[in-house]
């Protein structure tokens, strides 16, 4: 083996701690970059595979008059169409327990929209039905039981199925009842005695070649929709994005992708910054040795190679470890969290080589280049000059000293600490940046969690003041409660949002049921208002009201009459105070009762997926904070061995020696934490706006406890690292350290 290589291996062995921490830092960096993006890719890919395997529709056409065979042929011959499936569907009331609910029935599909049989068998006769499992459970039904759907003969249940239309709990909207479909069911096509088809499902030729969960698909899909609208203007054309679930699946991955850009970016920067400094420090330390090699006649390239190999080896090892762990573990954890929201098959976890290669290349190149630069910088001098000890950096008066008020109040050790902090500016700034970065990341992760968590709490305690919303078929003879308000609720599509229009019978009473403020008139909720230009339905908006979940427009009855030219017949009642849910449900005029408390819990559940993501981020940020602090402390000790040995000779006890160093670390850590908390607020604000979902506005809210926790964790890691390196301090050999000249 060449001596230089031997030297290199020995160097790695001698500086194991540094080498390993470099590996770990790069590992975390590439893990965070690759992991979240891999999760996005894997979740999209599973969507792509699933939709394609199901032959899921691209375009869905409905018509008030239905479709004849001629229509079907015309659509089939439209350019770009790959396949058309005419079929039937019908929404019908069913009795489930005491409740009347809306059920969407579809005919068993042909070549498109494959369903999956989860138990029993598919209907083979017109009087047979396959229902969803949830209905089976909530209605306490079994295969062979009978169910009654309004407008049909009674059915016998043959089995349970899952439908490609429903990847979430959401079952869509209907013109029946409260507007919500509760369950779906599949019938034998012959069960529908219609002369025409009710639905056409279409797959486009182009669709088969593009990724099904992508912006490209969304754009193409809008194009298809428009071209159908041009040809068949009196039909109601919708695409997958109009089916909220598919869209929100895509949006969730987009949200994740945005977190996956911003958060790991900061993460990666901190990691690279620390590795860079570590390497340039190492080169600095080895000035004399570099001089010796140069004097011995080694070429600059071969000397630089030693340090570059060290950098590239640690960066490469860490980078690849990060890729494999990141692309395996992250997608599993994250998709597992989303499994709660979306009914999707398990993901596959290939390594996303594009991003992975980029991450490793970026890390290795930047650290490698800086290493080469610092080595060539260090090699500038003549060997003789290099081998001579570098004249020690002169001490300087610090700015602080010029303010006698502070300076005179410091004790001796305090003065020493202040001097040392300000003297080593580069190290000081780097530690500051490292600690601040980690604290900011921690705060961001905690803050995200707070925001996501607080959505339900904020909405259902600060905005919603009523305790239940009761949907009614007609006004009851007697009021349900002494605190109640009749409303009319309708849904509309505005700016791509599904919006509830609420028309209270008495607008002045609304404020005590929903916190809409004191302005009366046309009120629009925040997020919706942002995409409007100050008017809606051609009227100026009177006020924008705070809101976190869904979108609402509140208007007085007069305006409703004016706009729609009809009476706002009440179809709901807002109730405050005590009520008997069972009694209400049993009431003749009541169709459904929506309890605020239950909604609150449900929303809480659905934000759980995001929470898992934030927990992943928290764990990552903690790991980074720990390793960065460890690395910085080790560098600090290595660089100042001589100084520390000197004070040990003077008779500083181990603890005093440690305190001499730790005081500085502590001051810098505290400053870094303060800076990091400050920066974290901005980082969190930046990320939170990019992760909002359509129906939710995440409040930018960071709990006091999160500030405390982020600061405490950083501080704890700092103290822990100091404690862990105490042994290293105690082990400094005075004789060895002071033997040679620097």
């Amino acid at each position: 083996m060449k001596p230089l290589w031997k030297d290199n291996l020995r160097e790695i062995w001698r500086t194991k701690a540094r080498f390993i921490s470099l590996i770990l830092i790069t590992m975390l960096g590439s893990m965070s970059v690759v992991g979240i993006q891999a999760a996005v890719i894997d979740m999209r890919d599973v969507g792509d595979r699933t939709y394609k395997a199901q032959n899921l529709y691209d375009i869905h056409i409905q018509s008030a008059t239905g479709f004849t065979g001629t229509d079907v042929t015309a659509v089939r011959e439209t350019s770009g169409v790959y396949a058309v499936m005419p079929t039937y569907s019908l929404d019908a009331y069913a009795e489930v327990g005491d409740e009347t609910v809306a059920v969407r029935t579809c005919a068993l599909p042909g070549e498109l929209n494959h369903i999956t049989l989860t138990s029993g068998k598919l209907p083979e006769k017109p009087d047979e039905i396959a229902i969803e499992r949830r209905w089976m459970r909530e209605g306490r039904l079994e295969i062979g039981d009978e169910v009654v759907l309004d407008g049909f003969e009674p059915f016998t249940i043959t089995g349970t199925v899952s439908s490609p239309f429903y990847i979430t709990h959401e079952r869509g909207r209907t013109s029946l009842g409260n507007g919500q479909v509760r369950f779906f069911a599949y019938l034998h096509p012959d069960a529908y005695s219609f002369p025409v088809y009710t639905d056409l499902y279409i797959i486009m030729e182009e669709s088969r070649t593009i990724h099904q969960v992508s912006d490209e698909y969304d754009a193409a899909s809008e194009g298809w929709k428009e071209s159908f609208e041009d040809i068949y203007p009196h039909w109601f054309i919708s695409n997958r994005s109009d089916g909220a679930a598919f869209d929100s699946y895509h949006q969730d991955t987009q949200r994740l992708q945005k977190i996956g850009y911003v958060f790991p970016m900061v993460f990666f920067l901190v990691a690279v910054l620390v590795s860079l400094t570590t390497m340039s420090r190492m080169v600095e330390e080895h000035r004399t040795q570099i001089g010796i090699y140069k004097a011995l006649g080694y070429s600059p390239a071969s000397i630089a190679a030693k340090y570059t190999v060290y950098a590239v080896l640690s960066g490469g090892l860490g980078g690849f470890a990060g890729i494999f762990i990141g692309s395996e573990a992250f997608p599993r954890i994250i998709s597992n969290a989303y499994a709660f929201l979306y009914d999707m098959p398990p993901i596959e976890t290939p390594v996303p080589w594009g991003i992975a290669g980029f991450a490793v290349a970026a890390a290795v190149l930047s650290v490698g280049v800086v290493t080469v630069l610092s080595v060539s910088g260090a090699m500038k001098g003549e060997p003789a000059i290099l081998m001579r000890p570098k004249s020690p950096k002169a001490g300087k008066r610090v700015l602080f000293e010029k303010i006698p008020f502070f300076w005179n109040r410091l004790d001796f050790i305090g003065k020493v600490t202040a001097r040392n902090i300000f003297r080593y500016k580069k190290r000081f700034l780097m530690t500051l940046a490292g600690v601040a970065g980690c604290t900011a990341l921690l705060l961001t992760a905690f803050g995200l969690r707070d925001s996501v968590y607080s959505v339900a709490a904020k909405h259902y305690t600060e905005i919603v003041q009523y305790d239940a919303l009761v949907y009614i078929s007609s006004k009851p003879d007697e009021p349900f409660s002494n605190q109640q308000l009749y409303i009319r609720e309708e849904t509309a599509q505005i700016e791509g949002y599904s919006v509830s229009i609420i028309v209270p019978e008495d607008f002045s009473a609304l404020e005590s049921f929903i916190n809409v403020g004191s302005v009366q008139g046309l009120l629009v909720t925040e997020k919706l208002a942002r995409s409007l230009d100050g008017t809606v339905f051609g009227r100026p908006i009177d006020a924008v009201v705070e809101n976190y979940i869904m979108h609402y427009i509140y208007m007085p009855p007069e305006m409703y009459r004016d706009l729609f030219d009809r009476e706002p017949e009440p179809n709901g009642v807002l109730i405050k105070g005590d009520y008997d849910a069972e009694e209400l449900t049993a009431h003749r005029d009541v169709r459904a009762v929506v309890e605020t408390e239950r909604m609150r819990n449900m929303i809480g559940d659905s934000t759980e997926a995001m929470e898992v993501v934030t927990v992943v981020l928290i764990v990552l940020a903690c790991a980074l904070a720990f390793i960065v602090l460890f690395n910085l402390t080790v560098i600090n000790i290595t660089e100042r061995t001589r100084e520390l040995a000197t004070i040990k000779v003077l008779g500083f006890q181990d603890t005093e020696t440690a305190m001499y160093l730790y005081r500085e670390n502590l001051v810098v850590t505290l400053l870094g934490i303060a800076l990091g908390l400050f920066g974290g607020v901005y980082l969190e604000g930046f990320i939170i706006t990019s992760v909002e979902i359509d129906i939710m506005k995440f409040p930018q809210y960071i709990a006091v406890s999160s500030f405390v926790l982020a600061a405490a964790l950083s501080l704890f890691f700092s103290l822990f690292v100091n404690a862990a390196t105490y042994r290293k301090l105690a082990k400094i050999d005075m004789v060895e350290s002071l033997k040679n000249v620097e």
């Binding site: 004249s391 020690p392 950096k393 002169a394 001490g395 300087k396 001796f412 050790i413 003065k415 020493v416 001097r419 040392n420 003297r423 001589r642 100084e643 000197t646 004070i647 040990k648 000779v649 003077l650 008779g651 500083f652 006890q653 181990d654 005093e656 005075m734 004789v735 002071l738 033997k739 000249v741």
Partner: protein
């Protein structure tokens, strides 16, 4: 002939043994290759006593004996010099005496106190309270002014001397606010001496204090050390390569290959100014 003895019989040994005699000391067989005639071998009364000190370095399968059975004594308040060729073990001996290094075998006492058995903490306290150390390359903290460097050592010692006064004593009263980089080598070494003296130590140990200095400056430093010894009664030990310095010392210990070659006393040390080298 083989003489049997224990430590407390050194006085007797002085009478009994001659150079070249085997001596069994504390049950161990030793070869006496040095026999000091003109006094001072009476280690029982010596302020500093090294007896059979072995310091072995082990690395891999190799072992090096930096000190290989070193025995000598030093008198309190005297100026002693340790001389010998490079690699002889001079620094090793001084570091052991300064409580910076531990020994493999033998015993070292200072003022009747055994250093061998001291715990880490006690050894540190010993360095703090009893020892002042001066290095060839000063080892000042670059980031502290001259005064602060001195304060660094007085800070941790209860009966410390006033740092300002000590700096004045070494002739630096007008440079107290300067940083090391703003001082000449000789001035830096004076700061280092002041730093060692501020602790009011019993022992002042100097490892080649003039090694990095020119002739005149070196002389000045030696004069300072000598004066300190005489005026304050501090026991001073100086390592030097330069045997020309030896006439100024009360006692000269010559070390070679980890062993004491000779211990010579100098009844009339020459003043530094008269020495030429």
């Amino acid at each position: 002939m083989v003489a049997k003895a224990t430590q407390c019989h050194y006085t007797m040994i002085k009478v009994l043994v001659k150079k070249g005699t085997d001596l069994e000391l504390n049950g161990r067989l030793c070869y006496i290759d040095t026999c000091v005639v003109n006094g001072g071998f009476d280690q029982m009364q010596s302020y500093v006593a090294f007896s059979n000190v072995v310091r072995e370095y082990r690395s891999g399968g190799l072992s090096v004996r930096a000190a290989d059975g070193v025995s000598f004594g030093l008198e309190e308040g005297r100026f002693s010099a340790i001389v010998g060729p490079s690699g002889a073990g001079k620094s090793t001996v001084l570091n052991i005496l300064g409580g910076m290094d531990t020994i493999t075998e033998g015993s070292v006492t200072v003022g009747g106190r055994e250093l061998t058995g001291l715990s880490r903490r006690q050894r540190c306290a010993y360095r703090r309270d009893d020892v002042g150390f001066v290095f060839q390359f000063y080892n000042l903290i670059q980031n502290l002014t001259a005064l602060e460097n001195v304060e660094l050592s007085s800070h941790i010692r209860k009966n410390a001397l006033n740092p300002q006064c000590v700096l004045a004593d070494v002739g630096l009263s007008d440079r107290v606010k300067n940083f090391p980089a703003q001082l000449s080598g000789g001035e830096q070494q004076r700061v280092a001496i002041a730093r060692a003296l501020a602790k009011n130590p019993k022992l002042l140990l100097c490892d080649e204090p003039t090694g990095a200095l020119d002739y005149e400056t070196g002389k000045g430093i030696l004069q300072l050390l000598f004066d300190t010894c005489r005026s304050k009664g501090v026991t001073v030990v100086v390592i030097t390569h330069n045997s020309a310095i030896t006439p100024m010392a009360d006692r000269i210990i010559k070390i070679k290959s980890g062993k004491v070659e000779s211990v010579t006393d100098n009844p009339n040390p020459k003043p530094v100014a008269e020495i030429e080298w």
